[in-house]
């Protein structure tokens, strides 16, 4: 039995080590776009303030509120930030990780973030979960933006002093009912990242991990590459080395 467990563990570790770090499609999922739906390239080329229709797979979403929901969606070619999409509470429950959706809205830009606003969606058949893409080599380069909104991974970052010797800051320190901010450096470039409370609240591992950071810690981070006047990762995982 022990032997069997060891083999299983070994296999699992091997799978972990050789796990995909790109977005090679699952062989079972057909990524062909439906009639009238843009490819990611067409979406990327579309002018701001034009109507767009895309198909993508839900990777995560922020908490539903007041018949609106903000969704992080992706297909194998790129990612989409679906801001405050019209959504009933009943439909919000269907937006599980991997769920395929068709979205129609307007392409927009807010503080550098390219997003789809005033959108509606419908559920479609299909499921796909993206693996985080290692974007470490893009750190500090203008090409970082090519990964905007995607599920990404950055390795070997150093936690900076956020102020007064603290490694992070609460948006609302007293109640802990809001975002966390922290700064990380690689080479000469420092970015401010965020733990978005409505995506990963105070009871999540990532929130607690950031609360436990110390200045100078070496970390790997994962998250969605949101943009606010520059890269502003919505962090979903922090690993202290």
């Amino acid at each position: 039995m022990k032997k069997f467990t060891a083999i299983l563990l070994g296999a699992a570790m091997l799978a972990g080590c050789t796990g995909k770090t790109d977005n090679t499609p699952e062989p079972t999922e057909d990524f062909t776009k439906s009639e009238g739906v843009m490819t990611y390239a067409e979406y990327a080329d579309a002018a701001l303030d034009t109507e767009v229709t895309i198909e993508a797979y839900v990777q995560a979403h922020q908490s539903w509120w007041d018949d609106k929901i903000t969704v992080y969606a992706q297909d194998p070619d790129g990612a989409y930030f679906l801001y405050n999409m019209t959504c009933t509470e009943e439909d919000a429950a269907k937006l599980v990780e991997g769920q395929k959706i068709k979205v129609t809205g307007f392409k927009s830009e807010w503080a550098g973030e390219i997003e789809i606003v005033d959108a509606t969606f419908e559920i479609e058949e299909g499921s796909w979960i993206a693996e985080p893409v290692d974007a470490t080599e893009l750190w500090g380069t203008v090409d970082m933006i090519t990964r905007q909104n995607q599920k990404v991974l950055f390795k070997d970052l150093t936690v900076e002093d956020y102020g007064d010797g603290n490694a992070f800051a609460y948006k609302n320190a007293e109640e802990k009912t809001d975002d966390l901010y922290f700064k990380v450096t690689s080479g000469d470039t420092t970015y401010e990242f965020i733990v978005e409370f409505y995506l990963t609240g105070a009871d999540t591992d990532v929130y607690k991990a950031v609360e436990g950071l110390k200045v100078g810690d070496k970390i790997d981070v994962e998250g969605f590459l949101y943009w606010y006047e520059g890269p502003n990762l919505h962090t979903t995982k922090v690993t202290v080395k």
Binding site: L48, K171, E175, E229
Partner: protein
């Protein structure tokens, strides 16, 4: 039978629960504060993610508790007013409102739709012992006549005061003076809308590469307005056009509004105008040399300008320029009108009048000089009392304008002066149940036309009419109209209600009979 009766009892209780209780008794000021008892009061506040503001609240609570050792204040902080509003609404239903809450009069009007939920403050104001400047206070509080009259008036809803002002601000135009002069203009003391639009249009000129001539960049939005609800409200007020009245009659859907929207659409189409919701924070564009007229609250002054102590853009994007501050643009510059805004404090009713009195003592403490001056200096806020404004300490703070780029940041103090020196130009909008929705609707129309022209949609009479209808429906303004906040005589009960009450009485009678029978059975 027993099961059926239990179900019936449950149903009755549920019915009672659904329709709410009678509410609390109206608050009456106790003759004396019972300081032999211990009180625990809650204070819901908002900070602008500004640690100094939080520290000031914390210090105020500590100092107050030293003065009143029998009162413990627990603070709950929020980072936006909307969340406070939602939480209060939720807690009204369960009688778990805070004791003291930072809020806006528009919100209070909604809280007041419950029975005796919010404490009217008139009697407390006038109480010789515990009232404003009262003789039995353990601190030196301001008298009623020391509160700036315009600010106090904003806290009057219908026939009563339901709040005391905490901080006040207005809106300002933060201007890149260098760009204005580069375009061949001088910044006047009072801007007009026409002048600002003219300069802005000139700034939209591009070279052959698509770069703006004014800044050599790909991005230039000459006018960015942060709060479009304020924009519409102020424009209508300046033109003496309809918005709403004290009775809650909605008048915003009028021809003047249409004309204003057509003009806004024209400047949105040329790229001269945008909004915070559509583009992002005005301060970021201003500081990056991508905006000329950034219109925002005076409470946001610490983000404005090259030397601003708070910056959200990277240093490589920051450009150097001279910032000047002016009041919002006017249609009639000889009769300026600008909005007065800012948080107030309201007190929620409780079954124990002594607890309410304890809350009042704390709320009043927040308008003492120490708290007022300290908080006002964190941003372009203004103390709400002449007592605080006239202190040597506050005057010295103002006089130190520009001495440093933190506490005495020039733009922040100039923004404060806009309101300090012109309270006579300020106004507020009527408050009624629904006025918060009306405010949102006013801004939504500007957002809609701006978005629509960017999306190449046609803005014409049909568009306007349809938008008026949609906005009216979205914000349920037709359901709010003419709703007053004062208690009204609703006339005799409808027949259906009478029948329901009769049924309830009958059910209770049955329960009592059943219980009596059970008791008799038990005895035998």
């Amino acid at each position: 039978m027993r099961k059926k009766l239990l179900c019936l009892c449950t149903a009755v209780l549920l019915l009672c629960g659904c329709h709410g209780s009678r509410g609390l008794d109206a608050f009456a000021v106790p003759e004396a504060f019972d300081d032999a008892r211990q009180y625990e009061i809650t204070f819901w506040a908002k900070n602008d993610t500004n640690k100094t503001q939080t520290a000031i609240y914390t210090q105020a609570i500590k100092d107050f508790q030293a003065l009143y050792p029998n009162i413990t204040v627990t603070m709950r902080l929020y980072t936006d007013y909307g969340r406070i509003y939602n939480d209060v609404i939720t807690n009204i239903a369960t009688n778990t409102t805070p004791n003291v809450c930072i809020t806006y009069p528009d919100h209070i009007a909604t809280y007041m739709t419950g029975t005796n939920v919010v404490v009217p403050l008139d009697e407390l104001f006038e109480d010789p012992g515990y009232g404003l400047g009262g003789t039995l206070l353990n601190y030196d509080g301001p008298g009623k006549d020391e509160i700036i009259p315009q600010f106090l008036q904003e806290c009057r809803i219908g026939e009563h005061y339901y709040a005391i002002p905490f901080m006040r601000s207005t809106e300002a135009v933060y201007i890149n003076k260098d760009f204005v002069e580069q375009l061949g203009y001088q910044v006047p003391d009072v801007l007009t809308w026409d002048w600002m639009y003219e300069v802005a249009e000139k700034a939209t000129a591009k070279d052959g590469n698509g770069d703006y001539l004014i800044n050599g960049q790909k991005v230039m939005i000459p006018i960015i307005y942060k709060s479009t609800d304020n924009m519409m409200i102020q424009m209508l007020k300046q033109l003496d056009a309809g918005y709403s009245d004290e009775e809650g009659t909605i008048a915003v859907f009028n021809d003047t509004t249409k004309e204003l929207l057509y003009t806004i659409a024209e400047h949105a189409r040329s790229g001269a105008f945008s909004t915070f919701k559509i583009s992002s924070y005005p301060a970021n564009f201003l500081n990056a040399g991508q905006c000329i007229f950034a219109i925002d609250s005076t409470a946001g002054a610490t983000w404005m300008g090259t030397d601003a102590p708070l910056l959200d853009i990277s240093p490589d994007k920051l450009v150097r320029f001279e910032t000047v501050v002016r009041m919002v643009p006017q249609f009639h510059p000889d009769q300026p009108k600008m909005i007065s805004q800012g948080p107030s404090l309201c007190i929620f009713n409780k079954s124990d009048p002594q607890e309410v009195l304890a809350a009042w003592l704390f709320a009043q403490y927040l308008i003492t000089n120490e708290v007022q001056i300290a908080y006002a200096e964190t941003e372009g806020y203004v103390p709400v009392t002449a007592k605080a404004q006239n202190t040597e300490e506050y005057q010295a703070y103002l006089a130190a304008e520009g001495m440093d780029n933190n506490e005495h940041y020039a733009i922040k103090i100039l923004a404060s002066r806009l309101l300090l020196e012109h309270p006579q130009y300020t106004f507020t909008t009527p408050v009624f149940n629904g006025s918060a929705s009306l405010r949102d609707a006013a801004g939504q129309m500007i957002e809609n036309v701006t978005k629509s022209v960017r999306r190449k949609q046609t803005i014409d009479e049909a568009y306007m009419e349809q938008m008026f209808q949609e906005v009216n429906a979205l914000y349920r303004l037709d359901q709010h109209g003419a709703s007053r906040t004062d208690p009204q005589d609703l006339g005799p009960l409808p027949a259906g209600s009478k029948a329901l009450l009769g049924t309830l009485a009958a059910v209770w009678a049955l329960i009592l009979v059943y219980l009596a029978l059970q008791k008799m059975k038990h005895r035998t």
